[in-house]
C-alpha cells in the first residue's frame, strides 16, 4: 500500500486506504474500485479527476457510505480524522453525514426538493443539525443565503427550486451544505451543468466559503482546467484506481503517469496546431478489466511486467506519486523533455508550440 | 468480398444482436416466478385452443340424451350437461372460441387505438383536440355497458360480440399511445430523422409508432383477460354467441339452473375462465415489469 503517500500529509482529515467496491449486475461483477488510496489534509482542496466510469463518484459516495445495492464496499478503510467510517453502525454514520461531511451534486435542481421553498429547505437542514426551533432557523436561512451572495435573500427564500437559475440553485445548495460547518465538503462535479461564466463565480465562492469555515474540499471533476484553477492537490483516477497523486502544479506540469500525460496532451489548447494526441484504445469494461495495471493495454510505455501485477503508488518526487512501474527504484520514469508539449507548459512557453505541431 | 458472403455475415451479425436482446429480456422475465407461471398457462391455453379440438373425445354440440347430467367420471372427465354433451370437450372447444375473440379484439382495438393515439399525439393541436374528444365520448360509458349496448343493437352473434368489445376497448390504447407519442416526438432522435428530410408520415409510422408499441402490448396482454371475461359475460346474458356454440359464458348460463345439484355444469367452464384470465394477468404484469422502465427498480 501507498504508505509514503499517507506520510506526506501530517494530520489528514480523510484517508481512503485500499478501497474496493464491486457492483453485482446481471452482466457480472463490475469491479468499480480496485484499491483506491487517497488522502486529504486539513484545509486542503483536493481534486479527484478522471473520465466517465473511472470511479470518482463511487469513491465519493463510499466516503459517505451511500453505496447501495447492487454495489458493495468489499474492503479497505475510510479514515475520517482517524476513525474508520466503514466500522461504524448506520446510526453512528448518520452523525457524520451532513454535519461533518457534506456533499453537493452536479445538478442542484435535482438535489433540491421541488415541493418546498429554498428557505424552508435550508431551515430544515439547520433545524435538524442544530436542534433549533424552525422559526429561528428560518431567519438564519436568509442570513445564510446572504453569505452565498444571493442579491435579495428574502425573496429567494420564498422561491421554489424551479424558479431559480442553475447558478442560483447551486449557491443555495452550497449555503445549505455549508450551514452546519462541516469539516469536509465533497463536491461532485459542482459546476459541470453550469456555464463557464457562472462556473467561475461558483468555484470562487466555494473556495472562499470553505476557507472561512476551515474545511477541506474533495472536488470531483472531469475538467482539468477546474482543477488547475482551484485545487491544491490532485488525484487522477483511471478504471478504479488512483494512478497519480501530487500537488496540482507538479501533476499538471510534470505528469508522471502515462495516462495523466495522455489526457493532458489530448486537450485542445490555444497554442496548438495539428491533430490532437489520442490515447489508443478505449476505457476497459470493468466486468473484465485487464490484469495488472489496468492502463497497460493503452499505454505507450507498457512492459511485459505491467500485465502481471497492479502497480503500487510509487514516489516520483517528494509529495508526488504515480502508480506506474516506471518509477520503481533504478528506473528513470518518463523523460522530462516529453512534457514540453503539455498545455500547461505550452502556455508558459509559446515558442515550444511550433515544433510540437510539426512532430505530431 | 462477394455479395453472398456479405449477406451471410450480415445474417450472423443481425441474428447475434437480436439473440442477445432476447436473452437479456428472458433473463429478466425468468426471475419473476409468477410471470413464468403466466407464460405456461397461456402456452397451454393456446395449445389447447389450436390443437385441442382435434383430440377432444366427444362432439361438442351433439350429445347422447341417455348420458345427460352425468357427474365427472373416467368416461366424461368433467361430466355431461342437460343435453348429454361432454363438458370436457365443450371446454376445449370453448378455448378456441375465446382465443379467437381475444385475438381479433386485441388486433382490432390495439391497431385502431394505437394509430389514433399516435396520430393525435404526434400532430398535436387541432388533430389532437378532435381525436381526443372523440375518445372521451367513448370513455363516458362504462366499458361493459358500451359493449353490451353495441352487441344488443347489432344482434346476438359472435362477430358482433367481437366488434362490440373492440369498440369498447380501443380508447384506452388511444390514450396510452398518445401519451407515448407526445413524449417520443420531443426526442432528439425524432428531430434527427426530421433533419434527414423525412416526411411526417414516415416519421410517424416508421419512427414514432415503434416506440409507442411496448406499453400497448403490455396493456393488451393485461386486457386479454378482460376481453375473455366480457365475451363470456355477454354470452351469459344472451347478447353474445348463441347456443349451441361451446362458449364458456353460455355454458355457465346453461348450467346455472342445475348449480345446486349438478355443480360440474358451470364449475368447469368457470374454472377455465379463471385460469386463463389469471394467466394473462400474470404475464401482463411480468411484461410490464420487464419492459416498462418507469416501474422497474
Amino acid at each position: 500500500m501507498a504508505e509514503q503517500m499517507f506520510d506526506t500529509v501530517s494530520s489528514p482529515i480523510l484517508e481512503v486506504r485500499d478501497l474496493f467496491v464491486n457492483f453485482y449486475t446481471y452482466r457480472g461483477v463490475v469491479r468499480a474500485l480496485n484499491g483506491v488510496n487517497l488522502t486529504i489534509g486539513r484545509g486542503e482542496i483536493v481534486g479527484l479527476v478522471g473520465e466517465t466510469g473511472c470511479g470518482k463518484s463511487v469513491t465519493a459516495r463510499s466516503v459517505l457510505r451511500l453505496i447501495r445495492y447492487p454495489g458493495k464496499i468489499e474492503g479497505g478503510q475510510i479514515l475520517f480524522e482517524g476513525q474508520d467510517l466503514l466500522a461504524l453502525s448506520e446510526r453512528e454514520m448518520r452523525e457524520f453525514r451532513g454535519r461533518q461531511i457534506s456533499m453537493i451534486m452536479q445538478e442542484p435542481k435535482v438535489s433540491l426538493n421541488p415541493a418546498f421553498t429554498i428557505g424552508a429547505q435550508i431551515a430544515e437542514s439547520i433545524a435538524i443539525h442544530d436542534y433549533k426551533p424552525l422559526d429561528d432557523a428560518q431567519t438564519e436561512a436568509i442570513e445564510i443565503l446572504r453569505t452565498v451572495r444571493i442579491a435579495d435573500p428574502e425573496q429567494v427564500a420564498h422561491q421554489y427550486p424551479h424558479e431559480l437559475s442553475g447558478g442560483m440553485a447551486q449557491r443555495a445548495m452550497l449555503a445549505m451544505m455549508l450551514a452546519p460547518r462541516p469539516k469536509l465538503l465533497i463536491a461532485d462535479e459542482p459546476t459541470s451543468a453550469l456555464d463557464v461564466t457562472i462556473q467561475a463565480q461558483i468555484l470562487n465562492l466555494m473556495t472562499e466559503l470553505v476557507e472561512q469555515i476551515e474545511a477541506s474540499i474533495l472536488l470531483i471533476t472531469h475538467d482539468l482546467g477546474v482543477v488547475a484553477e482551484t485545487c491544491d492537490k490532485v488525484a487522477v483516477m483511471y478504471a478504479g484506481n488512483v494512478v497519480e497523486y501530487g500537488t496540482t502544479e507538479e501533476v499538471l506540469t510534470n505528469p508522471a503517469h502515462p495516462y495523466t500525460r495522455g489526457l493532458l496532451r489530448a486537450l485542445p489548447n490555444l497554442a496548438r496546431q495539428g491533430p490532437l494526441y489520442t490515447i489508443r484504445g478505449s476505457v476497459p469494461d470493468l466486468v473484465d478489466p485487464p490484469a495488472g495495471c489496468r492502463f497497460h493495454p493503452r499505454c505507450e510505455y507498457a512492459m511485459s511486467e505491467c500485465a502481471v501485477e497492479r502497480p503500487d503508488l510509487l514516489t516520483v518526487k517528494q509529495g508526488h506519486f504515480a502508480a506506474c512501474v516506471l518509477y520503481e527504484e533504478g528506473r528513470d520514469g518518463i523523460p522530462d523533455a516529453a512534457h514540453d508539449e503539455l498545455p500547461a507548459n505550452v502556455w508558459a512557453n509559446p515558442d515550444a508550440s511550433a515544433t510540437v505541431g510539426e512532430q505530431s | 468480398m462477394s455479395v453472398a458472403t456479405g449477406w451471410v455475415k450480415d445474417f450472423q451479425h443481425r441474428y447475434k444482436s437480436q439473440l442477445e436482446s432476447a436473452l437479456y429480456f428472458w433473463s429478466y422475465l425468468r426471475r419473476n416466478t409468477l410471470s413464468v407461471i403466466g407464460i405456461l398457462v397461456i402456452f397451454v391455453f393456446i395449445l389447447v385452443a389450436a390443437f385441442g379440438p382435434y383430440f377432444a373425445p366427444y362432439n361438442p354440440v351433439k350429445g347422447e340424451t341417455s348420458d345427460r347430467l352425468q357427474g365427472p367420471s373416467a368416461e366424461h372427465w368433467f361430466g355431461t350437461d342437460q343435453l348429454g354433451r361432454d363438458i370436457f370437450s365443450r371446454v376445449i372447444h370453448g378455448a378456441r372460441v375465446s382465443l379467437r375473440i381475444a385475438m381479433i379484439v386485441a388486433v382490432i382495438a390495439g391497431t385502431v387505438g394505437t394509430v389514433v393515439g399516435v396520430t393525435s399525439g404526434y400532430f398535436g393541436a387541432l388533430v389532437d383536440d378532435l381525436l381526443m374528444r372523440v375518445t372521451d365520448m367513448f370513455f363516458a360509458f362504462p366499458k361493459l355497458v358500451l359493449a353490451m349496448a353495441v352487441a344488443a343493437a347489432l344482434g346476438p352473434d359472435l362477430e358482433n360480440v367481437i366488434f362490440a368489445i373492440a369498440i369498447a376497448s380501443w380508447p384506452v390504447y388511444a390514450r396510452l399511445a398518445r401519451g407515448e407519442a407526445l413524449a417520443v416526438r420531443e426526442e432528439d432522435y425524432i428531430e434527427a430523422i426530421r433533419a434527414l428530410g423525412a416526411g411526417r408520415m414516415r416519421i410517424l409510422f416508421l419512427h414514432v409508432l415503434p416506440m409507442c408499441i411496448t406499453p400497448i402490448i403490455i396493456q393488451v396482454t393485461l386486457d386479454m383477460g378482460f376481453i375473455i371475461l366480457t365475451a363470456a359475460g355477454l354470452g351469459f346474458i344472451g347478447f353474445g354467441a348463441q347456443p349451441p356454440t361451446p362458449e364458456w359464458g353460455i355454458m355457465i348460463a346453461e348450467g346455472r339452473n342445475f348449480i345446486t345439484s349438478q355443480w360440474w355444469l358451470s364449475t368447469f367452464p368457470g374454472l377455465a375462465i379463471l385460469v386463463t384470465v389469471l394467466g394473462f394477468n400474470l404475464l401482463g404484469d411480468g411484461l410490464r415489469d420487464v419492459l416498462d422502465p418507469r416501474l422497474t427498480r
Partner: protein, 322 residues
C-alpha cells in the same frame, strides 16, 4: 468569393401564453436578428452560454423550427422560401449532428437502418447499393462491418457520435451543423472525434458550422467565431485574432473564464457577476449592459449595432482596445 451560406437578420420568437383564440402575451426572443456568412470550406463557430439561442439558431437554419423572420441563403437561394418537396432538398445540402449521442439515435433501430435512412428518404441508392454505401461510410468514421447490425445501446458515447456523423455524411452534404459535438464526451474521446472531424472535412470538402460553449474546443477547430449573447451576435472575427484581442467585453469575460491549465498562472480576469437576463424581457439598449463593467447611460438607451472594425464585427459602444 461566393458565400455558401448567407444568413440575414434571422429571427425566431417563441410565443408564450397564447391559445386558439388568444394572442400570445409575450415572446421569447431566442434568436433576434442574427446575420453572418459562411464561405465554402470554412469552419465557423458560434459560442455562447446556455440560453443564448445558439441551439435555436441551428434548428432555425435547418428549418426544424420555422424562423419568424429573416433569410437564409444557400448558394444564393433563400431556403426559407422552399416549400413542399423543395424543402426536403435542404437536408441534402445541410446536415446536423446533435450534442447528445445517447439520445440522438433511435434506440430500436439497427445501425445500418439509422445510417441508411437518409439514402432511402432521398432515394439516393438502389436497394442493392445501400449496404455498401452504409458500410463505406461507417468505415470512414472508424467503425466496421460487424457494427452494421447492432443497436445504439451497444456502443460507447464516442462510437455513437461516429454513427451520427455517418448518418449525416451519407447524404454528402455541403454544410454540417455540429451542435456541441463533443460536450457529452470525455476528454480522451473528444480528441479522437475532433481529429476525425478535421479529417472528414478534408476528405469530403465539408464546411462546418459548430455551435458550442467550450471555447478551448472552438479555438482549436474554428477559422472564424461569432459570439452570441441573448439571441444576438455581439462579436464576429477570425479565431486567433478574436482570442488574442477580444473587443467586446462579453467575449473578453468568456475567454477569461476558460480555466487555465497552468496552475502557476492564476490570471487576473473579469468574472462576470449575476445571471444571464431573461430573453422574454431583454434589457433595453445593449443586452449585455446589466453584466458589463463598462456600461453607462448611453448603453441603456441605444442598442449598439454590429459594426465592422476592419475584419472584426463588434456590437459595442465602447469596444475594448488592445
Amino acid at each position: 468569393m461566393s458565400r455558401l451560406l448567407q444568413v440575414r437578420n434571422l429571427k425566431k420568437h417563441f410565443p408564450i401564453g397564447g391559445g386558439l383564440f388568444r394572442d400570445p402575451t409575450d415572446f421569447v426572443k431566442a434568436v433576434d436578428g442574427v446575420s453572418f456568412d459562411i464561405e465554402p470550406g470554412e469552419v465557423f463557430g458560434v459560442v455562447g452560454e446556455s440560453g443564448c439561442g445558439k441551439t435555436t439558431l441551428a434548428r432555425s437554419l435547418l428549418r426544424l423550427i420555422e424562423p419568424t423572420g429573416g433569410s437564409v441563403s444557400l448558394n444564393g437561394d433563400n431556403i426559407l422560401e422552399w416549400q413542399g418537396s423543395d424543402k426536403k432538398r435542404i437536408y441534402r445540402h445541410m446536415q446536423i449532428v446533435f450534442q447528445d449521442p445517447y439520445s440522438s439515435l433511435h434506440p430500436r433501430k439497427l445501425v445500418k437502418d439509422i445510417v441508411s435512412e437518409g439514402l432511402v428518404i432521398h432515394g439516393l441508392a438502389e436497394r442493392s447499393e445501400v449496404r455498401e454505401r452504409v458500410l463505406d461510410m461507417l468505415q470512414r468514421v472508424g467503425l466496421n462491418e460487424e457494427h452494421l447490425f447492432r443497436y445504439p445501446h451497444e456502443f460507447s458515447g464516442g462510437q455513437r457520435q461516429r454513427i451520427a456523423l455517418a448518418r449525416a455524411l451519407v447524404l454528402h452534404p455541403q454544410l454540417i451543423l455540429l451542435d456541441e459535438p463533443t460536450s457529452a464526451l470525455d476528454v480522451s474521446v473528444q480528441s479522437k472525434i475532433l481529429n476525425l472531424l478535421v479529417e472528414l472535412k478534408e476528405e469530403f470538402g465539408l464546411t462546418y458550422l459548430i455551435i458550442s460553449h467550450d471555447l478551448s474546443v472552438m479555438q482549436y477547430v474554428c477559422d472564424r467565431i461569432g459570439v452570441m449573447y441573448l439571441g444576438k451576435l455581439v462579436e464576429v472575427g477570425q479565431t486567433e485574432d478574436l482570442f488574442a484581442v477580444p473587443k467586446h467585453p462579453y467575449t473578453k469575460s468568456l475567454i477569461d473564464s476558460i480555466p487555465s491549465l497552468d496552475p502557476r498562472v492564476r490570471r487576473e480576469r473579469i468574472i462576470l457577476e449575476g445571471d444571464v437576463p431573461s430573453p422574454i424581457n431583454p434589457p433595453s439598449g445593449c443586452s449585455f449592459r446589466t453584466r458589463c463593467p463598462y456600461a453607462d447611460k448611453h448603453c441603456t438607451e441605444v442598442e449598439p449595432p454590429l459594426e465592422a472594425i476592419r475584419d472584426r464585427w463588434v456590437a459595442c459602444h465602447y469596444p475594448l482596445e488592445e
